[in-house]
């Protein structure tokens, strides 16, 4: 029997996974994917809650989050392309022109 807790734990795990990815992966694309992972983890718990509480709000929210996520990824990729054009790399550890 799968309870709310299971969903929440899963989403928490996914969320942490995403954060870890953002922090420890070098490849820009992978980082973007990790971000997506975070957002979707949140979506999971939203849906779970909404189902649990029997209120539709959470699922509506999820839709918006998806849209936003898509937009973000779009922009992110565009920027990634620009960066790649200029430096020939998308390894974030090489991207530290701006510091101090």
């Amino acid at each position: 029997m799968v309870t709310l807790e299971h969903y929440l734990v899963l989403s928490a795990l996914l969320f942490s996974l995403g954060m870890v990815g953002v922090m420890f992966r070098r490849n820009l694309i992978v980082i973007l994917m990790s971000l997506e992972l975070m957002l979707n983890a949140v979506n999971l718990s939203f849906v779970a809650f909404s189902r649990y509480l029997g209120s539709i709000e959470g699922q509506i929210f999820v839709l918006f989050v998806m849209v936003v996520a898509a937009a973000e990824v779009a922009v992110g990729l565009a920027i990634a392309v620009a960066v790649f054009r200029q430096r020939g790399t998308i390894n974030v550890n090489d991207i530290s022109l701006l510091k101090w």
């Binding site: 922090m23 974030v92 530290s96 022109l97 701006l98 101090w100």
Partner: protein, 641 residues
């Protein structure tokens, strides 16, 4: 007439302003006579006031004239006001009279100097301040004059300001005087806290009630005032400035550093006779310091070769006499000696000046000798002065000095001995100077010798006047034998209260018999003669004897000749040490410690900044990490709180 007392100081002030502001295109003569005339005018007024005063009954010879309220703040209200009583009148007459003579003398003496105008305006300013000092009716105004004369002496000592020694001497005089004034100031504060006023009359009238006879407070007040006096009147320990003050033009030495300013201290003590009378301890201190100074200065005087320095030390020693007189309670005699001393010491200085004038500025007596033919007037007047100061009957000095010795004996034998010994030395070094200068064989260099000349009448006439005064000046004080003591009777009332207090305090001293007095006189004359003879023997009969004496006791002579190295001692103890310490304060404390702290804070802040900016590594992952850490801290606070 007495109402017009304010005219007395005004005239010299006007003279000062005219010469100082408009004197630019005046001729020497005009400037000189404006200066002299101003002081002369004051003298005339003074004399007429004197006679006015005589008209009054002896008891009521004390008139105050308030001009306007000067400083009025809370319970403090100090007027510009004058007090006319025998004491102040005598002082005024001495100052303006001698002052006037010296002004005239200066016209001749300063002839052709670049700073002629400057000189006369300063001189007038001085007389103005001196007159304020002696005619003021309250301590504060007296202090104004007191500092004013200090300033003028500073300016006039430093008259030849290109000479470093001169400006140094000026500065020294001012600063040492300031040390004295420090005491004076504190004394005044105490007086105000006790009496709530500065006016002489009020203070002295209520002093017996407000203060306890011989109490700590009155002793403190008087001692502090006396500190001021020692500064102004060059007593131990603050006498060192006076010899250096001889850097100034000779008339200045005559007026300021012999006749008038330096006697201000004596005047002040006499003025506060009531207070001093109430503080026996202070009286003793005054007497001891006075006697000690008299002797001490005399010893130095015996060894000096610079004629003006000899006179300077003799001045210090004579001032010591005056203080001793006041110390033993003979205020009248002190003032009497002050007056006679003003005559003959001014005379001596001006005569010395005339010698300088003739010798084109030479001061060393070893380069003089046998000048009596070349400078007859100077010689005779100088001789008169010497006879007077040595106390040969019937010259002025005899009476005054004799009185002082008489009273000091009454007080304590020790004082008499001090005085007597000092007297021997005095007459010795004075005649020494006479013989070295005017007798013996000439030691004058040739280039100087061939234009040796007697000074112009503008200088010799004043000399003669003063010579005459120092001959007859003492007659106003013919001793008690005749019973009539004009001077004493005139000035007596001023010191009556003090006298009352003293006599009341002490066991009543029975009046000494005439015989005692005559013997004393004889002794003092004998003393003088003895000094004369010794001097004659050493410098005329056997001129080589001084050197033998020196060989006999080289160490002592070295010590005395170098004035006991007191100046050097002071420099070492106070001047240098303070300067060094201040330099330390500035470099080490101000710039290192305080500023170091201030700049240190700035540096630390900057350092922090540069560390903090290093957190900004530029790597996204680190930024994300910091966000995460922050988030975790926030959450855990919320969870664990």
């Amino acid at each position: 007439m007495i109402e017009l007392v304010w005219l007395i100081p005004i005239f010299p002030l006007i003279g000062f302003l005219i010469n100082g502001l408009l004197g630019r295109r005046f001729s020497e003569k005009t400037i000189g006579w404006i200066g002299a005339g101003a002081v002369g005018a004051s003298f005339v007024v003074a004399v007429s006031i004197f006679f006015e005063l005589l008209k009054l009954a002896p008891g009521s010879r004390s008139v105050q004239k308030i001009m306007y309220s000067w400083i009025w703040s809370g319970d403090l209200n100090v007027p510009i006001g004058f007090l006319v009583d025998p004491l102040s009148v005598i002082m005024i007459m001495v100052v303006s009279g001698v002052g006037c003579i010296i002004h005239i003398y200066s016209i001749g003496y300063m002839h052709g100097e670049i700073g002629f105008r400057r000189y006369f305006s300063y001189l007038n300013l001085f007389v103005f301040n001196m007159l304020i000092l002696v005619s003021a009716n309250n301590f504060l105004l007296m202090f104004v004059g007191w500092e004013g004369v200090g300033l003028c002496s500073y300016l006039l000592i430093g008259y030849y300001y290109e000479k470093k020694s001169a400006s140094d001497a000026g500065k020294k005089a001012f600063v040492v005087n300031r040390i004295g004034d420090f005491g004076f100031l504190l004394g005044m504060f105490l007086i105000f806290t006790v009496f709530g006023t500065f006016s002489y009359v009020d203070v002295f009238s209520v002093a017996p009630e407000k203060l306890t006879q011989g109490g700590v407070l009155v002793t403190l007040i008087t001692l502090l005032l006396f500190v001021g006096a020692t500064g102004k009147s060059a007593q131990i320990p603050l006498y060192t400035w006076l010899p250096d003050a001889m850097e100034g033009p000779t008339p200045v030495s005559a007026l300021i550093h012999a006749a008038t300013m330096v006697t201000a201290g004596v005047y002040m003590v006499a003025r506060c006779s009531v207070l001093f009378a109430m503080a026996p301890t202070s009286m003793t201190v005054v007497a001891v310091i006075g006697g000690a100074t008299a002797l001490f200065a005399a010893t130095i005087g015996m060894t000096q070769f610079d004629i003006k320095r000899v006179l300077a030390y003799s001045t210090i020693s004579q001032l010591g006499y005056m203080f001793m007189a006041c110390g033993v309670g003979a205020f009248a005699s002190g003032i009497f000696h002050l007056m006679t001393h003003a005559f003959f010491k001014a005379l001596l200085f001006m005569a010395a000046g005339s010698v300088m004038h003739a010798m084109s500025g030479e001061l060393d007596m070893r380069k003089m000798g046998d000048l009596r033919k070349k400078l007859p007037y100077t010689h005779w007047t100088y001789l008169f002065g010497t006879l007077a100061i040595a106390g040969i009957f019937p010259f002025a000095g005899f009476f005054s000095k004799d009185e002082i010795l008489f009273y000091s004996l009454q007080k304590h034998l020790g004082f008499w001995i001090l005085g007597a010994v000092a007297a021997i030395m005095t007459s010795f070094y004075m005649f020494r100077s006479v013989f070295m200068t005017f007798y013996g064989k000439s030691r004058v260099e040739h280039d100087v010798a061939h234009h040796l000349h007697e000074s112009p009448p503008l200088m010799t006439v004043p000399l003669m006047i003063l010579a005459f005064l120092s001959l007859v000046g003492g007659l106003v004080g013919i001793p008690i034998i005749q019973g009539g003591h004009v001077f004493g009777d005139f000035i007596g009332p001023v010191f009556a209260p003090a006298k009352a207090i003293i006599d009341h305090g002490a066991h009543h001293a029975e009046h000494p018999s005439v015989a005692v007095e005559v013997i004393l006189m004889a002794i003092s004359v004998g003393i003088a003669i003895f000094g004369l003879l010794v001097a004659r023997f050493m410098y005329i009969t056997s001129p080589e004897s001084p050197d033998r004496v020196i060989e006999r006791m080289p160490g002592l002579h070295k010590l005395v000749y170098n004035k006991y190295w007191i100046d050097e001692l002071y420099d070492l103890l106070f001047v240098n040490s303070i300067v060094e310490f201040s330099r330390l304060l500035w470099k080490k404390f101000d710039e290192t410690v305080i500023d170091g702290a201030v700049n240190g804070v700035a540096t630390v802040v900057q350092a922090f900044g540069s560390v903090l900016r290093l957190l900004q590594t530029g790597f996204v992952k680190d930024y994300a990490l910091s966000i995460l850490v922050g988030a975790i801290v926030v959450i855990s606070y919320l969870v664990l709180r």
